[in-house]
């Protein structure tokens, strides 16, 4: 290849992170997450995830435990469903990593509950479900591998607003309650503002900015130059700034904005 898909990317994310990866279509986001899951190996450089290290020389046999450790939910993951029943499909991953069939099937039922589907779906064929339900089954199939890191590639694409909201709050819960590290690839700045703790911005195969969500969104000029949208709350707050309002810190969500407004609301 003449042009590397990714060039000179260095960053480190803390344990138990919620990292959003943003940038335009074709900026290298998908390539980067496939590196983290070792579906692609770097041509130069090194990736360390907990106890695992990926270098250009890593062999496939070394990668299998890593793939269990880092779960990957691809775009439109419902297209990976194949088994005869929902339960078998969810149990497929864990069995590939050596779990016994009985344990895997029991785990599948548990995961079905985690993603908010009724137990009666377990014996149905995944192809009889609605698109949104199929997506939950696919996500349950990845969660069933009990990964410590979960990579999500535009997990809400194509869902209706209700489906999107439910899906994002599921990930928020997994992160908070089970301590899962999450890497979220998304175009939805509202989701970034609401859920992410760190943000990495990609552009033309390079990492152009990495920082906390607040740092990234605190520079409207830079966002504009990089054709990235600001969260609507931040845009709205800036409208008030132009009239002379000052903010302790720029609000990124409706809740944050309301907090700051309430704190200075005239009494009575």
């Amino acid at each position: 290849m003449a042009n590397p898909a990714l060039t000179d990317i260095s960053f480190s994310a803390p344990d138990n992170c919620f990292l959003a990866l943003i940038g335009h279509t074709g900026s290298g986001k998908s390539t980067l997450i496939q590196q983290i899951n070792a579906l692609l190996k770097p041509t130069a450089g090194k990736i360390t995830i907990d106890d695992f290290t990926i270098t250009p020389k890593t062999t496939n046999a070394d990668l299998k435990p890593l793939r269990r450790h880092v779960g990957m939910v691809f775009q439109f993951p419902e297209s990976q469903l194949f088994a005869e029943t929902v339960r078998q499909d969810i149990a497929f991953g864990p069995q590939n990593f050596g779990m016994s069939e009985t344990d895997a099937l029991a785990l599948a039922d548990q995961m079905l509950e985690t993603v908010g589907l009724k137990a009666e779906y377990a014996d149905r064929s995944p192809f009889e479900l609605s698109g949104g339900q199929m997506r939950r089954v696919a996500i349950a199939g990845v969660l069933a591998m009990q990964p410590q890191v979960l990579i999500l590639d535009e997990p809400t694409a194509g869902l209706d607003p209700q489906g999107r909201q439910e899906m994002m709050s599921l990930f928020g819960r997994l992160h908070r309650e089970q301590g899962l590290s999450i890497i979220l690839v998304t175009h939805q700045m509202e989701d970034v503002a609401q859920y992410a703790e760190q943000v990495a911005v990609m552009r033309q195969g390079r990492l152009v900015k990495y920082g906390s969500t607040r740092e990234i969104f605190s520079d409207p000029q830079w966002l504009f130059e990089n054709q990235l949208e600001e969260p609507i709350a931040a845009q709205f707050a800036q409208g008030l700034s132009r009239r002379g309002m000052t903010w302790a810190s720029l609000p990124l969500t409706a809740e944050e904005l309301a907090d700051q407004l309430a704190s200075r609301w005239p009494k009575g």
Binding site: G71, F74, S79, Q80, L81, F82, A83, G93, F97
Partner: protein, 250 residues
């Protein structure tokens, strides 16, 4: 080599017949000259042609050796053991086979490198046009081939995507014996087929919405034009053909 794809298709078909008909030293000389002439006219680096030969090398050597050892008695016998013998006739036959291999591979490479698959499909459909008279739905078939070609890259991308998704779920593609491999393909193939069914359904609805009724009552945007150079090439080939007939040993 900007010939009309129809000319190219006909020529290569014709070429197979020629290779089959040629059976004398002179006829092969003519064929080789014609092939080399075509290659030179295409201005394509010879290295490409050698690359085309490499994967088939093993088959060529096998065929040549077997042909040499098992050939019928004829001419001088150089070597004889049990039913294996190497004779003059055997050496000549195997030499001829080797040349046939090389010629056909070179022609194939030439055609592949100079013609878009879509043009070949359009060309084929256009050549089949007379079959309309015997009620073969030529236009429908042409439309289908064109749609099939259009969807090949889409489905290849999708196959790679699903393969990656299943690898991330711990499937090892390309490992183990054939039966194991057959088994590991199921998680790839079922989603692919399901998706293909959906695409076909969407596609038929979209085509209908865009006013498609049947392929016979349509006008054509993409057309092929037969140029003088097509005629000239044909003439050269016809002369060659005649020459081969002349030199053929009856």
């Amino acid at each position: 080599h900007r010939l009309d794809p129809r000319a190219k298709l006909l020529l290569s078909f014709f070429y197979i017949v020629l290779v089959f008909m040629a059976n004398s030293l002179w006829s092969y000389v003519i064929l080789i000259v014609m092939t080399l002439g075509a290659i030179l006219a295409s201005k394509i680096n010879l290295g490409f042609f050698l690359k085309g030969i490499r994967p088939l090398l093993w088959l060529i050597i096998f065929t040549v050796v077997v042909q040499m050892l098992f050939s019928p008695v004829g001419g001088h016998t150089y070597f004889h053991w049990a039913f294996l013998r190497v004779t003059t006739l055997g050496i000549i036959t195997s030499g001829v086979i080797a040349i046939r291999f090389l010629l056909i591979i070179m022609t194939s490479t030439l055609l592949t490198l100079t013609t878009q698959p879509l043009d070949i499909a359009t060309g084929l459909a256009s050549l089949m046009a007379p079959l309309r008279w015997v009620k073969v739905p030529v236009d429908t078939l042409a439309m289908m081939l064109s749609i099939a070609l259009r969807f090949v890259p889409t489905l290849m991308d999708e196959a790679v995507k699903i393969m990656n998704a299943q690898r991330a779920r711990g499937v090892d593609f390309g490992e183990g014996n054939l039966f194991k491999q057959a088994h590991s393909l199921i998680p790839l193939m079922i989603p692919l087929f399901m998706s293909a069914f959906n695409r076909a359904e969407d596609l038929s609805i979209a085509m209908e919405a865009r006013g498609y009724q049947d392929s016979e009552h349509r006008s054509q945007y993409r057309i092929l034009t037969w140029h003088h150079r097509d005629t000239v090439t044909w003439l050269i080939f016809l002369i060659g053909f005649a020459a081969i007939l002349v030199f053929r040993r009856w």
